[in-house]
Symmetry: C2
Subunit: 558 residues, 2 copies
């Protein structure tokens, strides 16, 4: 193709994107300096030498062989008539940025220059009307539409199916980034779907409001992406998952705009709101979300606690969830993650060691916990005292606010560490599940055993660690991180461990995913989770809602 | 038809049913004695003379002309082979009991002996396997299946379409009434779908647990019915709507059992749980529900408060919902309902009159409110004090616990009063909606105006009253009761007012129903509420989930 659209710079210069080969901003990389214990810990425990030459550093972009766009100039012109030509691009860098999310498989493939079926063209609509017009064009020209929020997805929800023969259009929602209206009486805000976390909280914050939704991906993910994947933020204990926070929706569909008015509750048949939540583009493009907002709390603190064992910590977390307390955050690292965190931080103080010795605790079994509080100073004090009583009843003790402040400040940085591992021939990724409290201990052990069996199968050292977070009255999320030195053929090796972990979730009675979504990564386990009848019903719904299979057809159910 | 199935007594003798012509138990009727102010109040304000001869008393059952069953003996035998012959019946009384719910239109028609298209045969399955076998038979023989819980539905979800030519089977779930398992660690209970409120709370209560779900219909409705219509109980402020309480589900579908495992939260695509919630039989028959349960609270109290105006009360309710408090119940009657309640009770004390005079309040504008508290005595005391501060800040004052105790004791009795009105040529019914706080004042006024315009159109005196209940952070439910003396052609007159009220909900930005469901009564407004695209999607889902239109095809979307 030729003409003004050939590699035209898009307005995407105004839409921030993460680095094409990894997480986050170009200028930020994980820096191990100032953490003297970390590299030795990783070498000894995880089995990866992070001091060795970084032999998997990303290639120069120009060295990549990006498959050509199949989009015609006519299509680019047609899209440009909708959004303005400056918001349409077929440039290789644009198409590479929109080819994948940021899962381990995504990063490995993009670093290796393997692009599967990247989008042929990227369009940045500036309004719901423009989104609707793009869908209309897609219907008329039989185009495949893949909605793109912040690109932080890690389950493969952003890639077209490898054998897709039609033109693939990536619809980047990044220009639609405004808070449209705040209903201060009801605590409801109408927000454009492409609004990123920081932009959302900044616009709301100027008026004194917060959503209280802070997923790990917060800095780079969008409201629409949160809804499309059923995101959960680290303060979900108080503010709820995005499924709770989302009160109203607007979804552009080929037959028009589907509106779900913001209602506190409604008894009007099956919930379309909850049908769109988690739909990952299969039903249309989310253009607007009405979210519950809260006044910015007077005071906020995150406190650290230490437990002698995983069992004690678990018991305390459950007691908090079953109380009338409503802390914002409950998090319990297991012994491995506690050791890793203390090594990764610079906080491993001699004092802590003495403290443990004094109590006669086994240093290899202690578990670090964080509990967050928000509200008036009086409310925070009351809640803190009640939590302290629960902690003591479970033989734990408090470490004050210093570690909590550090955790709070660094909470969005973890993904950079994974890129650092990747640079050094490491494989590192995460898998999360949720289950009722009664099931969690067995699910936890089963997942450890499955991962360790996979490590043995691969003949690698291997490391797994976990934390509990997102507590609910009936259960909680378990979040596992696994890492090992690549034995060669990293994608295949990764698959062995990832498959073992996911299967352990199903076998142990957990869910396929608590907040990462399904995409293509988790799709193989969905039938087991939903039952055959449920899986077939969902497949039938997608087929009925999108008979032309143009709406992100690779996601959730292939 | 002939043979052993002809009018065979069913095991329904073990399954309690409400009176065929009205609400509740045969032996209970509304008794105006001991309420000296009530009848004069109703005559003066509502315009109905309840002292006149009850000229609309229900006819004798034997005087009814019940249409014959179209079910063949073969069908009865086939169903009997599934459930045992004692659990199948074509007896007229059985079929009349299962012909309708207890809406105004239902009661009028049943008293007039107008049965539309009653079921041809009633079956009482005793297990999920039997339900599945009934569905299998329905698929093979092209039968229409209408699930029946407690029969308390008031939106027409239980009636077959008038022109249905196929055999209609009412599947009464009343034999499936057991709590199957309590997971005490997670606070989860597996319950058979036909379990009625009192049976549920009794079985759970023996082990120290409660669901905390107490809809007005509690005494007669079932867990499955609550789920199928998205019920909300009067303690929903703390315990949530049934949509929140329901963690897992089992749904018998023609292609097998659809299972939704009980998970605290999950990110596995569109929510099948929230698709089944509110589905009113259109997707299959709910056989089992896993509900969140809570330890029975140490202490429980309901307190009454008085506000000088609706606006003051509304402001207080909103302040409570926006606080960190979590009372179980917030309820605010408007001036009309307050006057009605005080007249209907025997509590209209001279003291209250003096109290109002002392404060200089207009007696015609005062609004009665109830707030409920549960938990440890300390927790209740803390919450009560905080609520008292909010009440005072809105110029209200507390009336103690006596009125609250009375309300709590009498809360399930209101429907009997409607039957009493009906006996005396009165028309009385309820309509409820929900909306964000910012919209509620206008929605409230608009509904009053619409009802009053309808009364004028009909040339009747007419009465409307309302309360706010079920508070959420973003809004609340408004529950309207309207009544007037029938001007003749009561069904047509009723329609005029009901239509005006429902249209006012839509025009005022409210939802079609907060917790009664859609059925056929609210279906005409569903498209406006869900948008055309949403309505079409839902229709497509039902068509895809039930291509033979055998699963309660008249409900929600005709």
């Amino acid at each position: 193709m030729a003409g003004p659209y050939r590699d035209a710079p898009a307005s995407s210069v105004h839409v921030p994107h993460m680095k094409w080969w990894g997480w986050g901003l170009e200028e930020i990389r994980f820096d191990p300096s100032g953490k003297p214990g970390f590299l030795p810990f990783v070498r000894a425990k995880v089995g990866i030498d992070l001091t060795a030459r970084a032999d998997r550093e990303p290639p120069a972009f120009d060295a990549l062989d990006v498959p050509g766009s199949r989009a015609s100039t006519d299509l680019a012109v047609s899209l440009g008539e909708i959004t303005g030509p400056e918001n349409v691009s077929t440039a290789p860098r644009e198409r590479v940025i929109h080819a994948y999310g940021k899962g381990f498989r995504d990063l490995m493939r993009v670093r290796d220059g393997r692009f599967g079926r990247p989008p042929d063209i990227v369009v940045y609509p500036g309004s719901e009307t423009e989104v609707a017009a793009v869908l209309d064009l897609a219907a008329r020209q039989d185009l495949v539409v893949v909605p793109f929020g912040g690109g932080s997805n890690i389950v493969g929800s952003l890639e077209a199916t490898p054998d897709e023969q039609r033109i693939v259009v990536s619809v980047d929602m990044g220009r639609m980034n405004r808070v449209l209206h705040i209903d201060a009486v009801s605590g409801l805000a109408r927000v454009e779907a492409g609004t990123r976390g920081p932009d959302l909280e900044r616009q709301l914050g100027e008026a004194g409001w917060t959503v209280g939704h802070f997923p790990d991906s917060f800095t780079h993910s969008t409201v629409g992406g949160w809804v499309a994947t059923r995101s959960s933020g680290m303060q979900s204990d108080k503010y709820g998952d995005i499924a709770d926070i989302t009160k109203g929706l607007r979804l552009a569909r080929p037959d028009g705009i589907l509106t779900v008015p913001a209602m506190p509750s409604t008894s009007t048949g099956p919930s379309l709101r909850e049908l769109i939540l988690g739909s990952e583009g299969r039903l249309g493009v989310i253009t607007e979300v009405t979210v519950q907002v809260h006044p910015i709390p007077e005071h906020r603190e995150v406190r650290a606690y230490l437990f002698a064992s995983w069992e004690d910590g678990l018991s305390a977390m459950r007691a908090i969830a079953h109380s009338d307390l409503r802390p914002t955050l409950t998090r319990l690292s297991d012994a491995n993650e506690t050791a890793f965190s203390l090594a990764a931080g610079s906080q491993r103080s001699a004092m802590l060691g003495r403290l443990l010795k004094l109590r006669g605790w086994n240093e290899d079994e202690v578990c670090l916990s964080f509990v967050g509080f928000e509200g008036s100073r009086g409310h925070v004090a009351t809640q803190r005292r009640a939590v302290a009583r629960i902690v003591r009843a479970n033989r734990g003790f408090g470490l004050g606010t210093k570690l909590g402040e550090l955790y709070d400040r660094k909470k969005f940085d973890t993904p950079y560490l994974r890129d650092f591992f990747l640079d050094h021939n490491g494989i590192a990724d995460v898998s999360e599940t949720a289950a009722p409290w009664s099931i969690l201990p067995g699910l936890y052990r089963g997942t450890y055993e499955a991962a360790e069996a996979a490590f043995i199968e691969l003949g690698v050292h291997g490391w797994i660690m976990a934390h509990l977070s997102h507590s609910y009255r009936s259960g909680a999320c378990l979040y596992f991180t696994f890492a090992f030195e690549s034995p060669g053929r990293p994608l295949e090796a990764y698959e062995v461990v990832k498959r073992a972990v996911q299967q352990a979730f199903i076998d142990g009675g957990g869910t396929v995913s608590h907040h990462h979504g399904v995409g293509v990564e988790h799709a193989p386990w969905l039938r087991d989770h939903l039952s055959r009848s449920g899986h077939d019903l969902l497949a039938a719904i997608f087929a009925e809602a999108d008979p032309g299979r143009r709406l992100n057809p690779g996601a959730i159910i292939v």
